[in-house]
């Protein structure tokens, strides 16, 4: 992998050559459109889905609660998110090792939104050749009109994207009403515009430059590759020596391979590379060159697949091994993590307890000689229903826990802070000692959580 060469002009404003990828249709283009429609459908549609009378997926940051369908998550469940991110990373490794950069070509938000922005560009400015001509030509009324139409489409789609994004964090019905009445908090406006602007800039202008210069995955994905990984390959043995044909494309001059050097694969590439030079790190495996080449092969009457999804082993005429140590390790780790995650989520204790010592006094001696320590106990009821909780102490002989009532009522998904006094007979304890405070639901003894605390008495 070579580092990009710095241009001679080291200015931030040096013009960057704009790419005009030629549009192609075909099997893989259709597959990508399907992926784009599915993923964007989920992104734009999910905030509107209802579940049990509330938004199905809502990351309520001000309330510090995450709702995902029937489940509610609290900051204490943060480890689950970490777990999920590890699963996501490992899936990426697994799919990269098997299928190459499938993520880049079909699922990456950068690809997905760029696809939509390019589609809007085509709608307003016309096809490939026409766009190049339009950009080169003088500013006519028609050019102005087309450019303005594109910007209107782009900006409104970007703002709608920002709105949908914020809709995952603020109840989307409230948000929509707020937008309609122009009554949103400045933060809501800010994040809508922030995300909208990021979409507009990335999908409208930066496009392949994000993959080339800014994406970390593009740089390290090659570490997951081996000779049995599916990549976009040009079959040089079949294609070379390349050469153009005369008027009758089907007439092959002697000694030439299948590649007619029409350069359509280069023109179609959204990152501007020539796949015939071999695999390059700029290749996002979008398969546009495959679609382009297949069409040409059909026309000249050669079999498809001069550029195709293939492993290096296959190109070299050797068998491809799917089950290899790397794949097996990724797959078994992935299975283990997914099963563990499912178990952790389904067996999650719907209760959490935080114990904080009273900051004012280490300990207090009561009139009857007993020693008292005071704690502030936060009971976090993560369940969908209310419970009565009983507090108790263990690992501290003869300890009595006293608070304002014998049991504590905590509503569904609520946090209650209780002041609890723990007392032991005088003379029993000296110095400090660790003990345990437990909370247990009276109606459901299974729901029980224990937290460590420290008890102090005279030295």
């Amino acid at each position: 992998m070579t580092a990009p060469v710095a241009a001679a002009d080291d200015s931030l404003y040096a013009a960057h050559q704009k790419l005009y990828p030629r549009e192609v249709g075909g099997r893989f283009a259709r597959l990508r459109i399907l992926a784009v429609a599915g993923l964007l459908g989920v992104f734009y549609g999910l905030p509107w889905v209802r579940w049990d009378g509330r938004q199905a997926v809502l990351f309520d940051l001000p309330a510090r609660k995450f709702y995902i369908f029937g489940l509610t998550f609290f900051p204490q469940d943060f480890y689950l998110l970490t777990w999920l991110l590890i699963i996501a990373a490992l899936s990426l490794f697994f799919f990269t090792a098997v299928g190459g950069r499938l993520w880049c070509g079909y699922a990456c938000p950068q690809t997905v939104w760029t696809e939509v922005f390019v589609w809007m560009e085509r709608l307003t400015e016309g096809k490939w050749a026409r766009r190049i001509k339009l950009d080169k030509g003088p500013w006519t009324a028609q050019k102005l009109l087309r450019k303005a139409a594109k910007q209107i489409l782009w900006v409104s789609f970007a703002v709608f994207t920002g709105f949908s994004f914020v809709g995952f964090f603020v109840p989307v019905h409230e948000l929509a009403a707020g937008v309609a009445a122009l009554k949103l908090s400045s933060w809501e406006w800010y994040w809508i515009l922030f995300y909208g602007f990021a979409t507009y800039g990335n999908a409208g202008y930066l496009r392949e430059q994000v993959c080339k210069y800014m994406c970390p995955y593009a740089r390290f994905q090659s570490a997951m590759f081996d000779r049995n990984t599916l990549i976009i390959s040009y079959d040089a043995q079949r294609g070379e020596p390349r050469g153009s044909r005369g008027r009758d494309a089907a007439l092959r001059p002697p000694g030439l391979g299948d590649c007619i050097d029409c350069t359509l694969c280069v023109q179609a590439c959204p990152t501007g590379i020539d796949i015939r030079k071999g695999l390059q790190y700029e290749c996002i495996a979008c398969a546009a060159c495959i679609d382009a080449c297949d069409e040409v092969m059909d026309k000249v009457g050669s079999p498809r697949g001069l550029v195709r999804y293939a492993t290096q082993a296959e190109i070299d005429g050797k068998p491809t091994r799917i089950a290899r140590p790397r794949i097996l390790v990724y797959a078994s780790l992935l299975c283990l993590l997914v099963v563990g995650f499912a178990f952790a989520v389904s067996h999650r204790m719907p209760l959490d307890v935080d114990v904080l010592r009273d900051r004012n006094a280490l300990y207090r001696e009561l009139n009857d000689g007993r020693i008292e320590n005071v704690y502030s106990i936060r009971i976090i009821n993560k369940d969908q229903q209310a419970h009565e909780f009983k507090l108790s102490a263990s690992n501290l002989p003869n300890a009595v826990v006293d608070s304002d009532s014998p049991t504590q009522f905590v509503n569904a998904e609520e946090v209650k802070t209780v002041v609890a006094r723990v007392r032991v007979p005088g003379g029993q304890e000296h110095g400090g000692r660790n003990f345990l405070i437990s909370a247990q639901a009276v109606d459901e003894p299974r729901i029980r959580v224990t937290s460590r605390a420290r008890f102090f008495a005279e030295p």
């Binding site: 510090r64 800010y190 800014m214």
Partner: protein, 91 residues
Amino acid sequence: MEAEDQPPPLEWSALREGIAVSVWTSFLAASAETMVFFAYFDPMLLGSDELPPTWLALRPVAYAAGFFFFWAFTLSAAALTAYMLRSRPHS
């Protein structure tokens, strides 16, 4: 043969690349830091003390302020790294 009607793209200038990469990687790091930090720290707790700035006790404000605070610092580290890597004198 190169395609005549589509010249190869120019590379980004080193300065532009440095800025874009620094902004992006620090954004990723700051997002992760914000998530981890606020998973364990509830800004509402600031409201129960007299000393710290109470305007920070509003959760949406604290989250945003925390994010930009992290971004500013991660950005300074990233930008400095980019600068150090490309300003090394060649012997």
